[in-house]
Symmetry: C2
Subunit: 224 residues, 2 copies
Amino acid sequence: MVDEVKLIEIKEDIQADNRLVAENLRQEMSRQKTFLINLMSSPGSGKTSTIISTVEALKGDLSFAVIEADIDSKLDAEKVAARGIKAVQLKTGGFCHLDASMVSKGLQEVDFARFDVVIIENVGNLVCPAEFDTGAIMNAMILSVPEGDDKPLKYPLMFSVCDVLLINKIDYLEFSDFDMLAVKQRVLGLNPRIRIYEISAKTGEGIDVWASWLKQTVDRFVRS
Amino acid sequence: MVDEVKLIEIKEDIQADNRLVAENLRQEMSRQKTFLINLMSSPGSGKTSTIISTVEALKGDLSFAVIEADIDSKLDAEKVAARGIKAVQLKTGGFCHLDASMVSKGLQEVDFARFDVVIIENVGNLVCPAEFDTGAIMNAMILSVPEGDDKPLKYPLMFSVCDVLLINKIDYLEFSDFDMLAVKQRVLGLNPRIRIYEISAKTGEGIDVWASWLKQTVDRFVRS
Protein backbone atom coordinates (compact mmCIF):
# COMPACT_ATOMS: atom_id res chain seq x y z
CA MET A 1 0.00 0.00 0.00
CA VAL A 2 1.76 3.09 -1.26
CA ASP A 3 0.73 6.55 -0.09
CA GLU A 4 0.33 9.19 -2.70
CA VAL A 5 3.26 11.60 -2.57
CA LYS A 6 2.28 15.12 -1.62
CA LEU A 7 4.12 17.86 -3.51
CA ILE A 8 4.85 21.15 -1.74
CA GLU A 9 5.72 24.07 -4.00
CA ILE A 10 8.30 25.94 -1.91
CA LYS A 11 8.77 28.78 -4.36
CA GLU A 12 5.06 29.50 -4.60
CA ASP A 13 4.78 29.78 -0.81
CA ILE A 14 7.80 32.07 -0.68
CA GLN A 15 6.48 34.20 -3.51
CA ALA A 16 3.07 34.56 -1.86
CA ASP A 17 4.75 35.80 1.35
CA ASN A 18 6.92 38.12 -0.73
CA ARG A 19 3.96 39.62 -2.57
CA LEU A 20 2.50 40.76 0.74
CA VAL A 21 5.76 42.42 1.79
CA ALA A 22 6.02 44.04 -1.66
CA GLU A 23 2.48 45.39 -1.51
CA ASN A 24 3.09 46.96 1.91
CA LEU A 25 6.33 48.49 0.65
CA ARG A 26 4.53 49.99 -2.37
CA GLN A 27 1.93 51.59 -0.11
CA GLU A 28 4.63 53.03 2.17
CA MET A 29 6.53 54.48 -0.84
CA SER A 30 3.29 56.02 -2.12
CA ARG A 31 2.66 57.70 1.21
CA GLN A 32 6.21 59.09 1.20
CA LYS A 33 5.96 60.11 -2.50
CA THR A 34 9.14 58.25 -3.42
CA PHE A 35 9.03 56.56 -6.83
CA LEU A 36 10.73 53.14 -6.80
CA ILE A 37 12.08 51.70 -10.06
CA ASN A 38 13.35 48.13 -10.41
CA LEU A 39 15.92 47.97 -13.24
CA MET A 40 16.77 44.51 -14.58
CA SER A 41 18.95 43.09 -17.37
CA SER A 42 21.66 40.60 -18.24
CA PRO A 43 25.13 41.25 -16.86
CA GLY A 44 26.98 43.81 -18.96
CA SER A 45 24.00 45.38 -20.71
CA GLY A 46 24.75 48.78 -19.16
CA LYS A 47 22.53 49.12 -16.08
CA THR A 48 25.02 51.21 -14.10
CA SER A 49 25.90 53.57 -16.95
CA THR A 50 22.22 53.96 -17.87
CA ILE A 51 21.44 54.91 -14.28
CA ILE A 52 24.24 57.46 -14.25
CA SER A 53 23.12 58.99 -17.58
CA THR A 54 19.51 59.14 -16.44
CA VAL A 55 20.34 60.78 -13.12
CA GLU A 56 22.62 63.29 -14.89
CA ALA A 57 19.84 64.17 -17.35
CA LEU A 58 17.34 64.83 -14.56
CA LYS A 59 19.54 66.19 -11.78
CA GLY A 60 17.99 69.67 -11.92
CA ASP A 61 14.48 68.21 -11.62
CA LEU A 62 14.51 65.14 -9.39
CA SER A 63 16.64 63.74 -6.55
CA PHE A 64 17.83 60.14 -6.86
CA ALA A 65 19.24 57.37 -4.70
CA VAL A 66 20.40 53.99 -5.98
CA ILE A 67 20.24 50.52 -4.45
CA GLU A 68 22.84 48.32 -6.11
CA ALA A 69 22.59 44.54 -5.87
CA ASP A 70 25.44 42.24 -6.62
CA ILE A 71 26.33 38.70 -5.74
CA ASP A 72 29.75 39.61 -4.40
CA SER A 73 31.15 43.10 -5.00
CA LYS A 74 30.46 46.76 -4.40
CA LEU A 75 32.03 48.04 -7.61
CA ASP A 76 28.74 49.32 -9.07
CA ALA A 77 27.74 51.22 -5.94
CA GLU A 78 31.16 52.85 -5.82
CA LYS A 79 30.88 53.85 -9.48
CA VAL A 80 27.51 55.50 -8.79
CA ALA A 81 28.65 57.11 -5.52
CA ALA A 82 31.67 58.56 -7.33
CA ARG A 83 29.17 60.68 -9.31
CA GLY A 84 27.80 62.08 -6.07
CA ILE A 85 24.69 59.87 -6.15
CA LYS A 86 23.56 58.36 -2.83
CA ALA A 87 24.08 54.59 -3.13
CA VAL A 88 23.90 51.46 -1.03
CA GLN A 89 25.20 48.04 -2.00
CA LEU A 90 23.22 44.87 -1.27
CA LYS A 91 25.53 41.89 -1.39
CA THR A 92 23.24 38.96 -2.14
CA GLY A 93 25.86 36.28 -1.48
CA GLY A 94 24.74 33.86 -4.17
CA PHE A 95 21.08 34.80 -4.45
CA CYS A 96 20.29 35.58 -8.07
CA HIS A 97 17.34 37.86 -7.30
CA LEU A 98 16.14 40.55 -4.91
CA ASP A 99 12.92 40.23 -2.98
CA ALA A 100 10.89 42.93 -1.26
CA SER A 101 12.40 42.48 2.19
CA MET A 102 15.93 42.78 0.81
CA VAL A 103 14.88 45.98 -1.01
CA SER A 104 13.29 47.25 2.18
CA LYS A 105 16.64 47.01 4.01
CA GLY A 106 18.30 49.01 1.23
CA LEU A 107 15.55 51.67 1.28
CA GLN A 108 15.96 52.16 5.03
CA GLU A 109 19.71 52.49 4.60
CA VAL A 110 19.44 55.28 1.97
CA ASP A 111 16.72 57.01 4.03
CA PHE A 112 14.46 56.83 0.99
CA ALA A 113 11.90 59.50 1.95
CA ARG A 114 14.55 62.17 1.25
CA PHE A 115 14.50 61.28 -2.49
CA ASP A 116 12.02 61.63 -5.35
CA VAL A 117 13.22 58.45 -7.03
CA VAL A 118 15.06 55.34 -5.88
CA ILE A 119 16.42 53.06 -8.59
CA ILE A 120 17.14 49.43 -7.76
CA GLU A 121 19.87 47.94 -9.93
CA ASN A 122 18.84 44.30 -9.66
CA VAL A 123 21.21 41.30 -9.98
CA GLY A 124 22.36 40.82 -13.60
CA ASN A 125 20.15 37.95 -14.70
CA LEU A 126 17.15 37.60 -17.05
CA VAL A 127 15.47 34.76 -15.12
CA CYS A 128 15.16 34.98 -11.30
CA PRO A 129 14.65 38.75 -10.90
CA ALA A 130 11.55 38.54 -13.11
CA GLU A 131 9.92 36.14 -10.66
CA PHE A 132 10.10 38.31 -7.52
CA ASP A 133 8.07 41.42 -6.83
CA THR A 134 10.52 43.93 -5.30
CA GLY A 135 7.82 46.39 -4.24
CA ALA A 136 8.76 48.75 -7.09
CA ILE A 137 6.17 50.97 -8.73
CA MET A 138 7.83 50.49 -12.12
CA ASN A 139 9.72 47.53 -13.58
CA ALA A 140 12.21 48.52 -16.25
CA MET A 141 14.67 46.42 -18.20
CA ILE A 142 17.57 46.93 -20.52
CA LEU A 143 18.28 44.84 -23.58
CA SER A 144 21.55 45.82 -25.23
CA VAL A 145 22.08 45.44 -28.97
CA PRO A 146 25.09 43.07 -28.65
CA GLU A 147 22.93 40.59 -26.69
CA GLY A 148 20.91 39.89 -29.83
CA ASP A 149 17.32 40.21 -30.98
CA ASP A 150 16.26 36.72 -29.85
CA LYS A 151 16.13 37.53 -26.11
CA PRO A 152 12.33 38.10 -25.96
CA LEU A 153 11.91 34.56 -27.32
CA LYS A 154 14.26 33.09 -24.71
CA TYR A 155 13.20 35.10 -21.64
CA PRO A 156 9.51 35.89 -22.19
CA LEU A 157 8.68 36.35 -18.48
CA MET A 158 11.19 39.19 -18.04
CA PHE A 159 9.74 41.09 -21.02
CA SER A 160 6.20 40.42 -19.78
CA VAL A 161 6.63 41.87 -16.28
CA CYS A 162 8.28 45.14 -17.37
CA ASP A 163 6.61 48.52 -17.90
CA VAL A 164 9.57 49.90 -19.84
CA LEU A 165 12.22 48.42 -22.12
CA LEU A 166 15.37 50.41 -22.80
CA ILE A 167 17.21 49.13 -25.86
CA ASN A 168 20.77 50.20 -25.03
CA LYS A 169 24.02 50.39 -27.01
CA ILE A 170 22.27 51.53 -30.20
CA ASP A 171 25.68 52.88 -31.23
CA TYR A 172 26.44 49.21 -32.04
CA LEU A 173 23.51 48.92 -34.48
CA GLU A 174 25.60 49.68 -37.55
CA PHE A 175 28.03 46.82 -36.79
CA SER A 176 25.32 44.34 -35.89
CA ASP A 177 22.55 42.28 -37.48
CA PHE A 178 20.23 43.16 -34.57
CA ASP A 179 16.74 43.46 -36.06
CA MET A 180 15.11 46.35 -34.17
CA LEU A 181 11.71 45.89 -35.80
CA ALA A 182 11.65 42.15 -35.02
CA VAL A 183 12.57 42.82 -31.37
CA LYS A 184 9.81 45.35 -30.96
CA GLN A 185 7.27 43.04 -32.54
CA ARG A 186 8.37 40.15 -30.29
CA VAL A 187 8.26 42.31 -27.15
CA LEU A 188 4.89 43.90 -27.96
CA GLY A 189 3.52 40.44 -28.74
CA LEU A 190 4.39 39.42 -25.16
CA ASN A 191 3.45 42.72 -23.55
CA PRO A 192 1.40 45.19 -25.61
CA ARG A 193 1.50 47.93 -22.94
CA ILE A 194 5.30 48.14 -22.61
CA ARG A 195 7.06 51.43 -23.48
CA ILE A 196 10.20 51.01 -25.58
CA TYR A 197 13.02 53.57 -25.77
CA GLU A 198 16.20 53.30 -27.85
CA ILE A 199 19.22 54.69 -26.03
CA SER A 200 22.99 54.73 -25.88
CA ALA A 201 24.17 55.36 -22.33
CA LYS A 202 27.66 55.82 -23.81
CA THR A 203 26.94 58.49 -26.45
CA GLY A 204 23.88 59.89 -24.67
CA GLU A 205 21.64 59.35 -27.71
CA GLY A 206 17.98 58.88 -26.76
CA ILE A 207 18.55 59.51 -23.04
CA ASP A 208 16.67 62.85 -23.21
CA VAL A 209 13.49 61.23 -24.58
CA TRP A 210 13.48 58.44 -22.00
CA ALA A 211 14.38 60.83 -19.16
CA SER A 212 11.67 63.27 -20.14
CA TRP A 213 9.05 60.51 -20.09
CA LEU A 214 10.36 59.32 -16.72
CA LYS A 215 10.11 62.88 -15.33
CA GLN A 216 6.45 63.13 -16.43
CA THR A 217 5.68 59.72 -14.91
CA VAL A 218 7.26 60.63 -11.57
CA ASP A 219 5.44 63.99 -11.57
CA ARG A 220 2.10 62.24 -12.10
CA PHE A 221 2.91 59.84 -9.24
CA VAL A 222 3.86 62.68 -6.85
CA ARG A 223 0.66 64.59 -7.64
CA SER A 224 -1.55 61.51 -7.26
CA MET B 1 31.88 65.05 -1.91
CA VAL B 2 31.33 61.32 -2.18
CA ASP B 3 29.50 59.38 0.52
CA GLU B 4 31.02 56.15 1.65
CA VAL B 5 29.04 53.22 0.24
CA LYS B 6 27.35 51.10 2.89
CA LEU B 7 27.42 47.37 2.22
CA ILE B 8 24.47 45.24 3.39
CA GLU B 9 25.13 41.51 3.57
CA ILE B 10 21.77 40.05 2.54
CA LYS B 11 22.75 36.44 3.02
CA GLU B 12 24.02 37.01 6.55
CA ASP B 13 20.72 38.62 7.57
CA ILE B 14 18.76 35.78 6.02
CA GLN B 15 20.95 33.18 7.68
CA ALA B 16 20.59 34.82 11.08
CA ASP B 17 16.78 34.71 10.74
CA ASN B 18 17.03 31.10 9.57
CA ARG B 19 19.17 30.04 12.54
CA LEU B 20 16.40 31.15 14.89
CA VAL B 21 13.76 29.14 13.01
CA ALA B 22 16.13 26.14 12.94
CA GLU B 23 16.78 26.32 16.67
CA ASN B 24 13.04 26.40 17.44
CA LEU B 25 12.49 23.45 15.11
CA ARG B 26 15.26 21.46 16.85
CA GLN B 27 13.65 22.07 20.23
CA GLU B 28 10.22 21.01 18.95
CA MET B 29 11.67 17.79 17.45
CA SER B 30 13.42 17.05 20.75
CA ARG B 31 10.15 17.42 22.64
CA GLN B 32 8.44 15.05 20.20
CA LYS B 33 11.41 12.61 20.24
CA THR B 34 11.73 12.60 16.46
CA PHE B 35 15.32 12.49 15.19
CA LEU B 36 15.86 14.72 12.14
CA ILE B 37 18.72 13.95 9.74
CA ASN B 38 19.78 16.28 6.93
CA LEU B 39 21.41 14.24 4.14
CA MET B 40 23.44 16.16 1.58
CA SER B 41 25.59 15.30 -1.44
CA SER B 42 26.25 16.01 -5.11
CA PRO B 43 23.60 14.91 -7.59
CA GLY B 44 23.93 11.22 -8.39
CA SER B 45 25.97 10.17 -5.38
CA GLY B 46 23.20 7.83 -4.20
CA LYS B 47 21.17 9.72 -1.59
CA THR B 48 17.86 8.05 -2.44
CA SER B 49 19.25 4.51 -2.61
CA THR B 50 21.21 5.03 0.62
CA ILE B 51 18.01 6.18 2.34
CA ILE B 52 16.14 3.12 1.08
CA SER B 53 18.93 0.72 2.19
CA THR B 54 19.15 2.37 5.61
CA VAL B 55 15.40 2.25 6.20
CA GLU B 56 15.29 -1.41 5.07
CA ALA B 57 18.12 -2.28 7.47
CA LEU B 58 16.33 -0.68 10.42
CA LYS B 59 12.69 -1.30 9.61
CA GLY B 60 12.16 -3.68 12.54
CA ASP B 61 13.63 -1.13 14.97
CA LEU B 62 12.71 2.39 13.92
CA SER B 63 9.95 4.09 11.91
CA PHE B 64 11.04 6.51 9.16
CA ALA B 65 9.60 9.29 7.04
CA VAL B 66 11.45 11.08 4.25
CA ILE B 67 11.36 14.68 3.05
CA GLU B 68 12.64 14.83 -0.50
CA ALA B 69 13.79 18.12 -1.99
CA ASP B 70 14.25 18.69 -5.65
CA ILE B 71 14.38 21.70 -7.92
CA ASP B 72 11.71 20.38 -10.24
CA SER B 73 10.55 16.77 -9.96
CA LYS B 74 9.01 14.28 -7.59
CA LEU B 75 10.82 11.21 -8.90
CA ASP B 76 12.81 10.62 -5.71
CA ALA B 77 9.78 10.85 -3.42
CA GLU B 78 7.92 8.39 -5.64
CA LYS B 79 10.88 5.98 -5.55
CA VAL B 80 10.89 6.11 -1.74
CA ALA B 81 7.10 5.90 -1.43
CA ALA B 82 7.12 2.84 -3.70
CA ARG B 83 9.00 1.06 -0.88
CA GLY B 84 6.18 1.87 1.51
CA ILE B 85 8.08 4.70 3.19
CA LYS B 86 6.11 7.86 4.06
CA ALA B 87 7.46 10.63 1.81
CA VAL B 88 6.75 14.21 0.88
CA GLN B 89 8.32 16.13 -1.98
CA LEU B 90 9.45 19.74 -1.60
CA LYS B 91 9.78 21.33 -5.01
CA THR B 92 12.23 24.18 -4.48
CA GLY B 93 11.64 25.77 -7.89
CA GLY B 94 15.20 26.91 -8.50
CA PHE B 95 16.42 27.27 -4.93
CA CYS B 96 19.59 25.24 -4.49
CA HIS B 97 19.16 24.74 -0.73
CA LEU B 98 16.58 24.04 1.96
CA ASP B 99 16.15 26.30 4.94
CA ALA B 100 14.46 25.57 8.25
CA SER B 101 11.06 26.99 7.32
CA MET B 102 10.93 24.90 4.14
CA VAL B 103 11.78 21.81 6.21
CA SER B 104 9.12 22.76 8.73
CA LYS B 105 6.44 22.65 6.02
CA GLY B 106 7.60 19.16 5.02
CA LEU B 107 7.60 17.96 8.63
CA GLN B 108 4.03 19.13 9.15
CA GLU B 109 2.98 17.36 5.96
CA VAL B 110 4.42 13.97 7.03
CA ASP B 111 3.00 14.43 10.55
CA PHE B 112 6.51 13.96 11.92
CA ALA B 113 5.65 13.10 15.54
CA ARG B 114 4.42 9.68 14.32
CA PHE B 115 7.99 8.72 13.33
CA ASP B 116 11.25 7.97 15.17
CA VAL B 117 13.38 9.40 12.37
CA VAL B 118 12.78 11.85 9.53
CA ILE B 119 15.45 12.01 6.84
CA ILE B 120 15.70 15.13 4.68
CA GLU B 121 17.14 14.41 1.26
CA ASN B 122 18.51 17.87 0.51
CA VAL B 123 18.97 19.36 -2.97
CA GLY B 124 21.88 17.71 -4.83
CA ASN B 125 24.60 20.32 -4.41
CA LEU B 126 27.81 20.57 -2.36
CA VAL B 127 27.69 24.34 -1.87
CA CYS B 128 24.40 26.02 -0.86
CA PRO B 129 22.94 23.29 1.39
CA ALA B 130 26.04 23.50 3.64
CA GLU B 131 25.28 27.15 4.36
CA PHE B 132 21.74 26.75 5.74
CA ASP B 133 20.79 25.21 9.06
CA THR B 134 17.75 23.01 8.35
CA GLY B 135 16.94 22.41 12.01
CA ALA B 136 18.30 18.86 11.78
CA ILE B 137 19.88 17.17 14.79
CA MET B 138 22.41 15.45 12.53
CA ASN B 139 24.02 16.55 9.28
CA ALA B 140 25.14 13.68 7.10
CA MET B 141 26.68 13.68 3.66
CA ILE B 142 27.53 11.19 0.97
CA LEU B 143 30.66 11.26 -1.13
CA SER B 144 30.63 8.58 -3.81
CA VAL B 145 33.83 7.00 -5.08
CA PRO B 146 33.30 8.04 -8.75
CA GLU B 147 33.18 11.72 -7.67
CA GLY B 148 36.86 11.57 -6.76
CA ASP B 149 39.01 12.00 -3.68
CA ASP B 150 39.59 15.75 -4.18
CA LYS B 151 36.11 16.82 -3.05
CA PRO B 152 37.12 17.73 0.55
CA LEU B 153 39.65 20.16 -0.94
CA LYS B 154 37.04 21.75 -3.21
CA TYR B 155 34.06 21.87 -0.84
CA PRO B 156 35.56 22.24 2.65
CA LEU B 157 32.47 23.84 4.20
CA MET B 158 30.25 20.85 3.41
CA PHE B 159 32.70 18.42 5.03
CA SER B 160 33.09 20.77 8.01
CA VAL B 161 29.39 21.02 8.90
CA CYS B 162 28.65 17.28 8.79
CA ASP B 163 28.55 14.84 11.69
CA VAL B 164 28.75 11.80 9.43
CA LEU B 165 30.30 11.07 6.04
CA LEU B 166 29.11 8.05 4.09
CA ILE B 167 31.58 7.08 1.38
CA ASN B 168 29.24 5.35 -1.08
CA LYS B 169 29.76 3.16 -4.16
CA ILE B 170 32.77 1.39 -2.65
CA ASP B 171 32.02 -1.37 -5.19
CA TYR B 172 33.70 1.01 -7.67
CA LEU B 173 36.95 1.15 -5.67
CA GLU B 174 38.64 -1.59 -7.65
CA PHE B 175 38.08 0.26 -10.96
CA SER B 176 39.12 3.63 -9.60
CA ASP B 177 42.18 5.56 -8.41
CA PHE B 178 40.14 6.94 -5.48
CA ASP B 179 42.55 7.22 -2.55
CA MET B 180 40.49 6.27 0.53
CA LEU B 181 43.26 7.07 3.00
CA ALA B 182 43.88 10.50 1.46
CA VAL B 183 40.13 11.31 1.59
CA LYS B 184 39.89 10.35 5.24
CA GLN B 185 42.95 12.43 6.11
CA ARG B 186 41.58 15.43 4.20
CA VAL B 187 38.17 15.13 5.83
CA LEU B 188 39.50 14.61 9.36
CA GLY B 189 41.83 17.56 8.83
CA LEU B 190 38.76 19.73 8.21
CA ASN B 191 36.56 18.10 10.83
CA PRO B 192 38.25 15.83 13.40
CA ARG B 193 34.95 14.78 15.03
CA ILE B 194 33.25 13.45 11.86
CA ARG B 195 32.28 9.74 11.70
CA ILE B 196 33.13 8.05 8.40
CA TYR B 197 31.46 4.90 7.09
CA GLU B 198 32.24 3.08 3.84
CA ILE B 199 29.13 1.74 2.16
CA SER B 200 27.66 0.48 -1.07
CA ALA B 201 23.94 1.18 -1.20
CA LYS B 202 23.84 -1.09 -4.27
CA THR B 203 25.50 -4.24 -2.87
CA GLY B 204 24.53 -3.51 0.75
CA GLU B 205 28.17 -3.68 1.92
CA GLY B 206 28.78 -1.62 5.05
CA ILE B 207 25.13 -0.63 5.48
CA ASP B 208 24.80 -2.78 8.62
CA VAL B 209 27.66 -1.01 10.42
CA TRP B 210 26.36 2.46 9.58
CA ALA B 211 22.75 1.50 10.38
CA SER B 212 23.73 -0.02 13.69
CA TRP B 213 25.55 3.17 14.71
CA LEU B 214 22.54 5.24 13.61
CA LYS B 215 20.23 3.03 15.71
CA GLN B 216 22.37 3.60 18.82
CA THR B 217 22.48 7.34 18.18
CA VAL B 218 18.71 7.59 17.79
CA ASP B 219 18.19 5.45 20.93
CA ARG B 220 20.44 7.78 22.95
CA PHE B 221 18.47 10.78 21.61
CA VAL B 222 15.09 9.24 22.51
CA ARG B 223 16.25 8.41 26.06
CA SER B 224 17.75 11.88 26.60
